[in-house]
């Protein structure tokens, strides 16, 4: 019906948008930077809150893409320039695409935990990120310390790079809380004798089944939740890590040695989105994520004709919301194409 819609980013938002568009008969090209589509979800083992395999969701999205979707992988967009009647997309390999309708689904980057200097990520080998831990799960490896030992105690640190003015991110990354609870349970499933200590400021169990998962973590898996933000990490001679925090529910400073620290790294605006924002002149919020035309009523449109936003390019979002947002974008694209057709 309508042709030549370009989606930049083949993560789950881009895939969901492409699937919905091709289902209603529109031809879509998805440009994906990595070798395979799926974005960050490809690095996940099991998804919260139900612990279903991430692969199942990706397989579903892959199957639903339909015949009208073309996915070009291993291609990076360098800049997007407005032209009369549309946009020219310059890729870093020299390829050029032109389109009248563009969906930006470029997603987010993970916070670089090295910026939280006092936590010692990149310095102390027993400090890893939630993404590192997820990789261990996905590859079916054992959770061990840097010395290959089974950890007796693991500390899980919430809000790393989120709700933290010192690193320039005052926003909440939304999904880390429940990720931390999920990963705590998974470590306990793998290592029944390992004690888990989760350090949090508050637990934002906002979505369906999240609170239940938190309850399960306390009741069934005996995870210790300690309310207090980690102040600093220090390394012992045996490479275990001393955590310093305030247990704000007792009002005492508290120190605790753990064998492994997992930092729940949050979302930061994607580097690809930043490049494109520059050349297109799209609006950014104070948090650095892209702004739609109206956050309540036009969440997928931008102020530029024919440019749409899908998924976490607009800020932290979970898998459920991102897929829904990708589909919502398809509806907006359809409406836009239909009206521009009428205008012709």
């Amino acid at each position: 019906m309508y042709k030549n819609i370009i989606i930049v980013g083949g993560g789950i938002a881009g895939m969901a948008a492409a699937a919905a568009l091709s289902e209603i008969g529109m031809e879509v090209t998805v440009l994906e930077r990595e070798k395979l589509p799926g974005g960050h979800v490809r690095s996940w083992d099991r998804l919260f809150p139900t612990l279903r395999a991430a692969k199942e969701v990706l397989d579903f999205l892959n199957k639903s893409l339909g015949l009208l979707t073309e996915i070009i992988c291993d291609i990076e967009v360098g800049s997007i320039v407005p032209t009369p009647g549309g946009y020219t997309i310059h890729c870093t390999n020299g390829d050029i695409f032109t389109t009248g309708c563009l969906v930006l689904a470029t997603g987010y980057d993970l916070f670089d935990a090295r910026k939280k200097e006092e936590y010692g990520f990149g310095i102390y080998e027993n400090v890893i990120t939630s993404a590192d831990l997820e990789k261990i799960f996905r590859e079916g490896n054992q959770v061990t310390t840097c010395g290959g030992q089974v950890p007796r105690r693991v500390g899980i640190i919430h809000c790393v790079g989120s709700r933290d003015e010192k690193v320039g991110n005052i926003y909440c990354s939304k999904v880390c809380c429940v990720t931390g609870v999920k990963q705590a349970i998974e470590i306990r499933q793998m290592l029944p004798d390992c004690e888990i200590f989760s350090f949090y400021m508050d637990l934002r169990m906002y979505d369906r089944h999240f609170e239940e998962l938190y309850f399960e973590a306390q009741q069934k898996w005996n995870v210790n939740f300690i309310r207090g933000r980690l102040s600093e990490c220090a390394e012992n001679p045996d490479h275990s890590i001393i955590l310093k925090t305030e247990d704000t529910l007792t009002g005492h400073p508290l120190k605790l040695t753990v064998d492994l620290v997992v930092l729940l790294v949050g979302f930061v605006p994607g580097s690809s989105a930043r490049k494109i924002t520059g050349s297109l002149g799209l609006l950014q919020g104070t948090d650095g994520f892209l702004l739609p035309a109206d956050e309540h009523t036009a969440g997928n449109r931008t102020l530029l004709p024919g440019v749409f936003l899908a998924g976490a390019v607009k800020g932290p979002a979970c898998v459920v919301d991102t897929i829904a947002d990708g589909r919502a974008t398809a509806v907006e694209v359809y409406r836009y194409m239909k009206h521009s057709e009428v205008a012709k």
């Binding site: 090295r114 200097e117 990520f121 310095i123 220090a234 012992n236 001679p237 001393i242």
Partner: protein, 359 residues
């Protein structure tokens, strides 16, 4: 520990340090605490490096001790600091170098305050003019003297000079570095290497052949903290901080501690005596304590200066074991002689912390 991670952070905290023509301001207390240090700095700068370092005897305290003890109001402190800047301006210098860490922090704090509140700067200029008739330019570069020694660490550690290596085993000495709180904790960008993993002393230790110990209470205050020691009844806070650090570093068996603040070496050195008298505990090898050095003393040792010219005889913890380890020669008979060769008297032996006996 992965040193690459620290190097990654250090990249982000490179500060500009002037290379010559310094207006040098001394510390209120260091000439009593470690009498050879400032003299050694001037000797290195002038004799070894051929730099122009200017001092004006009319410069006063920056009033940092009074300011941090809540007895001098900030306005007064700022006006006194403005006067130091006036002395620098009058002498035709624009690179301001401080011997004291608290001064360094305070100068930065005041310049930052004036940057954000130009009306405050204007008021202070008026105060100074009314009181003294002076005017001033703000310095083009503010550095701590340890920044300057850091800048010239390669020259100081030139081939042929002493190395922080055990003469007996050939292995690098294990060194605890301790940075004054006011060096970078207020303004991480003003310190070489930032506040969490400062590089200023680490850079010297690495360059001169030693290895730095990263122990758990590395970031903890030495125990100086003005209000903790000025009143006798509060000194328990001070010595408790110091003990926490010693207990934490002890398992790493440090060969010595290197510092860049007036207070840190004072308290890390002298509290070893007090702790031994209170608790019967000594740190370091054979009950001799862990030697504590200032960066000027260490630089002087690397350059082969006579240890007694560096003022090492006034340390509580004997430095001779360290000199022996490195192989630095000294004359034990001259330890307690004054500059003109007269006996200066000798301290009484503590009950637990041992005196070094030369064999």
């Amino acid at each position: 520990m992965n040193i690459g991670g620290k190097r990654h952070i250090w990249k982000d905290y490179q500060k500009e340090i002037a290379g010559d023509r310094f207006f040098y301001v001394r510390s209120c207390v260091r000439q009593n605490f470690f009498p050879g240090s400032e003299k050694t700095f001037l000797r290195i700068m002038k004799e070894e490096l051929g730099k122009d370092v200017f001092e004006n005897a009319a410069h006063t305290t920056c009033s940092g001790i009074g300011y941090h003890s809540d007895v001098v109001p900030f306005e007064t402190t700022m006006t006194m600091v403005a006067r130091q800047f006036a002395l620098m301006t009058e002498a035709g210098y624009e690179n301001f170098t401080t011997s004291c860490i608290t001064s360094f922090g305070l100068y930065n704090e005041i310049l930052e305050t004036w940057h954000h509140f130009p009306d405050v700067e204007a008021r202070i200029r008026e105060h100074l003019h009314r009181a003294t008739g002076r005017t001033f330019n703000k310095p083009a570069n503010v550095s701590h003297a340890s920044d300057v020694i850091f800048k010239f660490r390669k020259e100081i550690g030139a081939p042929g000079n002493f190395r922080l290596v055990s003469k007996k085993t050939g292995k690098p000495l294990q060194v605890v570095e301790h940075i004054g709180c006011h060096y970078a904790k207020m303004f991480p960008s003003k310190g070489v290497g930032g506040a969490e993993y400062p590089y200023v002393l680490t850079g010297m230790i690495e360059e001169w052949g030693g290895e730095v110990i990263d122990y758990p209470e590395r970031r903890h205050c030495c125990g100086f903290g003005f209000r903790q020691y000025l009143v006798q009844a509060n000194r328990g806070y001070s010595i408790s901080c110091t003990k926490k650090k010693f207990d934490s570093m002890a398992p790493y068996k440090p060969d010595f501690i290197l510092t860049n603040c007036p207070g840190c070496p004072m308290f890390l050195d002298r509290w070893q005596y007090a702790l031994s008298e209170m608790k019967g505990t000594t740190y370091g090898e054979n009950g001799l304590g862990i030697p504590v050095l200032t960066y000027e003393e260490l630089a002087g040792m690397i350059l082969g200066y006579d240890p007694w010219d560096l003022g090492l005889q006034v340390h509580q913890v004997p430095v001779e074991p360290l000199l022996d380890k490195i192989g630095i020669p000294y004359d034990p008979g001259r330890k307690f002689l004054t500059m003109d060769g007269k006996p200066m008297g000798q301290p009484l032996a503590p009950s637990h912390l041992k005196f070094y006996k030369h064999v």
